[in-house]
């Protein structure tokens, strides 16, 4: 079965050792997903796999067989219009160089869903009742796998709050 990437079907790579990140960047020219470490340490390569965030450098492309991958390029569709979170990143200056940005955005979209689902995190006080709303501390803890060396952390968190507020409304 093929892999669906941003709604289009792609064949599995001939070599089962190819990572999802390499499939995207090196073979299909989808360079919006970034490589920061290739070791699972920076989050720059985060994409959505069936709606959940994964590090594509630590995911084999074949693991995505028959599943849906959404990358930063897939968030906007064909239209000019930005995803609300992309716009919020611009409005709150949630980046400088922009290299960690696609990973931050994909990660935050899945994180919002984790919060909605009530998944607890390390800073959730009561594991049974789940997170006590989208506090800054919850957002920060949950986004800590996405490094930003430019130091756009405040803007990123503010942009994510806009997304969460929009969803709540």
């Amino acid at each position: 079965m093929p892999i669906s990437i941003n709604g289009a079907d792609y064949p599995l790579p001939d070599d089962p050792r190819v990572s999802l990140l390499d499939l995207l960047r090196e073979r299909e020219g989808l360079t919006g997903t970034k490589l920061g470490c290739n070791q699972g340490a920076c989050g720059a390569c985060t994409v959505l796999l069936d709606g959940e965030r994964v590090l594509s450098c630590l995911t084999l492309a074949v693991q995505a067989e028959g599943r849906e991958v959404v990358t930063i390029e897939g968030l906007t569709g064909d239209g000019e219009e930005l995803h609300p979170l992309q716009q919020a990143f611009i409005d709150h200056d949630g980046f400088q160089c922009g290299y960690c940005t696609p990973g931050q955005i994909c990660s935050a979209i899945a994180m919002a869903q984790e919060l909605r689902r009530g998944d607890p995190s390390h800073v959730t006080a009561d594991l049974a009742s789940g997170p006590n709303g989208p506090t800054r501390e919850e957002i920060r803890e949950r986004m800590s796998g996405n490094l930003c060396r430019c130091g756009a952390h405040n803007g990123i968190v503010e942009a994510i709050e806009v997304l969460l507020a929009g969803e709540a409304a």
């Binding site: 360079t31 997903t33 920061g36 930005l82 716009q87 409005d91 200056d93 400088q96 922009g98 130091g151």
Partner: protein, 772 residues
């Protein structure tokens, strides 16, 4: 710098003392410091949409046919000779196109060293690159593998067998101190500064402190790895690079390969974070050499490990600071002595000893720094080189002195703030450090601080507040040029080989050009980022905005001349000289007479010209030698320390900056915050771990080198005085690096306030906090 250069700079300074300021660049204040329309407003990044869509193209993403991918084999000893180099298995591995070693590498010259005096040099060290069997640091590249895929190259690299004849090496800081050398000068100043008798004054001072502070090797670790996509077209070399020095790379590669500057093309429109790291290192040179040998284009993207082994970082320092004061806190003596690792093949000065020379008035000084020569990777500049470690030592010492005096640390600064250069007496171009302190103190609520350490707590958490001064000098690079082209619709296009690493370069200079030319923002566009454009100096030393700003200003003067010539006599501007007109409302008008105005479109239309294009070059930055030009900041921190574990959590961070005019509130805020967050990393987590037995770096991944993550970063408040500097373009001074300075000291001082424990050794990790 050599003795000779030192003498020259000294000579120029002496001459300038007698030259009226009116003759120098910045003689009359830039009117844009006050008359601002687009400047000073908050403008979103013009490249924002591209970046959030993932459409901004970085160096490793440039498509090319027939591309080969490079991987490196690094030496595993610090010094010695390669005696056996078995590459047979690697050559036979699937997909391998080339194995390059010193045996088959082309002849390459050492790249010219980067420096203030050479505009087309970018070399970070002076060692030959793959020209012989000698090993000079642990991690040096001994083989380059090119293969059809990166995985194949990485695999083949693992098959290379190297045998070394190891020679004795010097890799221990403590041992190196014994043979440290004392250079005659550091950057543009004499190294040794003796003014008054500091030793005697220290001994006689009513109150004194004397302590030693140390800062570790740190690595920039931008999230985008260093990368280049390289091709030869005949004798022409094409490099899509991630660099903050486009023209320096052009000039250097031309020298290395013995070709003309014009035959090197370097493009670097987006850089995924630089911080000083994205210069010319061995990888671009080796990539170009390998591409030459195979006749195919090459992509080199450094692994995190290769980044640590090939790209130098902020060097280790050890600094003694002794301060003596009278009972009122007036400084009598300032001694700042210390060591920094700087291998002989390194170019970069870690000029920590500059910090204490500019901040505070003091009766006597005794300042000198020594270099420890080790067999290590060349060190380099990392965000706020010199001042980042320098402010840690000086500003912790000031806090210790305040404590010894039983005086509020802000008050101690107030009593000693310099009103002119404390050493030379040169006037400040502009400086108001205490304005920054007052703003910052109010914002954080400094009056809540308990002067007595370890007196505030909440549960297991000890709470403390600290402050420190940050500082960074003003720099403007010579030679930067900009082209302005105005077309028949009145649209202006600005072009220069400037760099975008996240600072918002094009965004801010578009605001600048709009105001400079009297145009609305959307009538201006800006192109930066490749070597076909007019010369751009490196993006370093927080200088790019001023350098490019001065070039655009110079170009606008030429544009006015050119337009007046084109306008001829049949115009409301007839007979006016360039000095009598100003840009306004999409054209030129007579100063003080708005009725005599003509638009660009009208001038060009009558002259039947499609466009007018001029290139201007900024003047030599003589103002830097005549005036004392430093930005300052006041950093405030409030934090908690767990009495149980020693864990430190930063609750608040406030930075108040006196950096001249702020040009774009949004991008400036991000620059300041980004710098401060790097300061947080310096304070608490960052350290490049060296195995001193072998000279090998142990922390070569982001799992082992800890940069601040979201949960480490509190809400940060950024404030600025916004007082124009009358000597600089747009009244602004650089803001890219000062954010990093002072933060580690503010944190250390807050830790002391919280716990009563003084940690003088960065980073402040849990093991150093004995809360007894």
């Amino acid at each position: 710098m050599s003795k000779l250069q030192n003498a020259l700079v000294g000579g120029v300074r002496t001459v300038l003392e007698h030259i009226p300021a009116a003759w120098l660049p910045g003689a009359s204040p830039d009117h844009l410091a006050e008359r601002r329309v687009a400047l000073g407003t908050q403008q979103p990044r013009i490249d924002g949409p591209e970046k959030v869509r993932g459409m901004a193209r970085f160096a490793a993403e440039v498509p090319m046919d027939e591309l080969l991918h490079a991987a490196f084999v690094h030496s595993t000893i610090a010094r010695g000779t390669i005696v056996e180099l078995d590459i047979a298995a690697a050559e036979a591995a699937p997909g391998v196109g080339l194995v390059m070693t010193h045996r088959n590498a082309p002849k390459m010259k050492v790249p010219p060293s980067i420096g203030l005096t050479s505009m087309k040099a970018a070399g970070n060290h002076t060692l030959p690159i793959m020209q012989d069997a000698e090993i000079r640091w642990n991690g040096q590249v001994v083989a380059v593998i090119l293969a059809e895929t990166r995985e194949q190259a990485d695999h083949a690299a693992s098959l290379v067998n190297v045998l070394y004849d190891a020679a004795p090496s010097r890799t221990r800081f403590e041992e190196g101190k014994a043979n440290a050398r004392t250079p005659h000068s550091i950057q543009m100043d004499q190294n040794r500064l003796e003014k008054g008798n500091a030793t005697k004054k220290l001994a006689q001072a009513a109150v004194s402190i004397d302590a030693t502070y140390s800062t570790p090797w740190e690595s920039h670790n931008p999230i985008e790895p260093h990368a280049a996509t390289i091709a030869w077209e005949g004798e022409k070399l094409i490099v899509h690079d991630a660099t903050q020095m486009i023209h320096g790379t052009v000039g250097s590669l031309a020298k290395v390969f013995g070709i003309k500057d014009d035959d090197v093309f370097v493009s670097s429109p987006f850089v995924g974070g630089g911080f000083g790291a994205k210069g010319l290192w061995d990888h671009q040179i080796l990539g170009a050499a390998a591409a030459k040998l195979t006749g195919r284009p090459v992509r080199i993207r450094l692994s995190r490990e290769s980044m640590h082994r090939l790209v130098g970082g902020r060097t280790q320092t050890e600094q003694r600071v002794a301060l003596g004061a009278d009972a009122d806190g007036k400084l009598k003596a300032l001694l700042h002595h210390g060591y920094a690792t700087k291998p002989r093949h390194s170019i970069t000065d870690e000029a920590f000893s500059q910090t204490g020379r500019s901040l505070y008035a003091c009766e006597s000084f005794d300042v000198v720094q020594h270099y420890v020569d080790l067999d290590l990777l060349a060190n380099s500049f990392m965000r706020a080189p010199g001042e980042a470690p320098g402010t840690f030592a000086i500003e912790c010492a000031m806090d210790e002195l305040a404590h010894a005096l039983n005086m509020d640390p802000v008050e101690l600064r107030r009593r000693n703030v310099a009103t002119c250069d404390p050493v030379s007496g040169a006037p400040h171009s502009q400086s108001d450090m205490m304005a920054a302190y007052d703003m910052g103190a109010e914002r954080i609520g400094w009056d809540r601080r308990s002067p007595e350490p370890r007196t505030r707590s909440e549960g297991e958490w000890l709470i403390g507040m600290g402050c420190a001064t940050g500082t960074f000098p003003f720099l403007r690079m010579p030679g930067t040029a900009a082209r302005i082209t105005v077309d028949a619709t009145g649209h202006a296009h600005v072009a220069s080989a400037a760099h975008e690493m996240g600072m918002g370069t094009a965004t801010v200079q578009r605001q600048h050009a709009a105001d400079r030319l009297g145009l609305p923002l959307d009538s201006v566009s800006v192109t930066i980022g490749d070597s076909t454009l007019p010369y751009g100096a490196l993006a370093g030393g927080s200088s790019q905005t001023a350098s490019l700003g001065a070039a655009i200003s110079a170009a606008s003067d030429k544009l006015a001349e050119q337009l007046l010539r084109l306008a001829g006599n049949d115009t409301p501007l007839a007979g006016l000289k360039p000095g009598e007109v100003e840009f306004a409302d999409g054209g030129l008008r007579k100063i003080d007479d708005p009725s005599r105005h003509e638009t660009f479109a009208s001038i060009l239309g009558r002259a039947s010209q499609a466009e007018v294009s001029v290139t201007g070059e900024s003047k030599a930055p003589m103002e830097m030698l005549k005036f004392s030009m430093h930005s300052t900041s006041a950093v405030f921190c409030e934090l908690r320390v767990s009495e149980v574990t020693g864990e430190i959590r930063i609750d608040r961070l406030v930075g108040a900056f006196d950096c001249g005019r702020i040009l774009n509130a949004q991008t400036a805020t991000s620059q300041f915050k980004g710098g401060m967050i790097m300061g947080l990393g310096m304070a608490l987590t960052e350290e490049t771990l060296l195995d001193e037995r072998s000279g090998r770096i142990m922390s070569t991944s982001l799992a082992e080198y800890h940069v601040p993550v979201h949960l480490d970063v509190p809400d940060i408040d950024v404030l600025w005085t916004d007082i124009p500097d009358p000597r600089t373009p747009m009244g602004a001074r650089g803001i890219g690096e000062i954010g990093t300075t002072g933060v580690a000291a503010a944190v250390a001082n807050a830790v002391f306030n919280a716990t009563g424990v003084r940690v003088r050794d960065l980073p402040i990790t849990l093991d150093k906090l004995d809360l007894g």
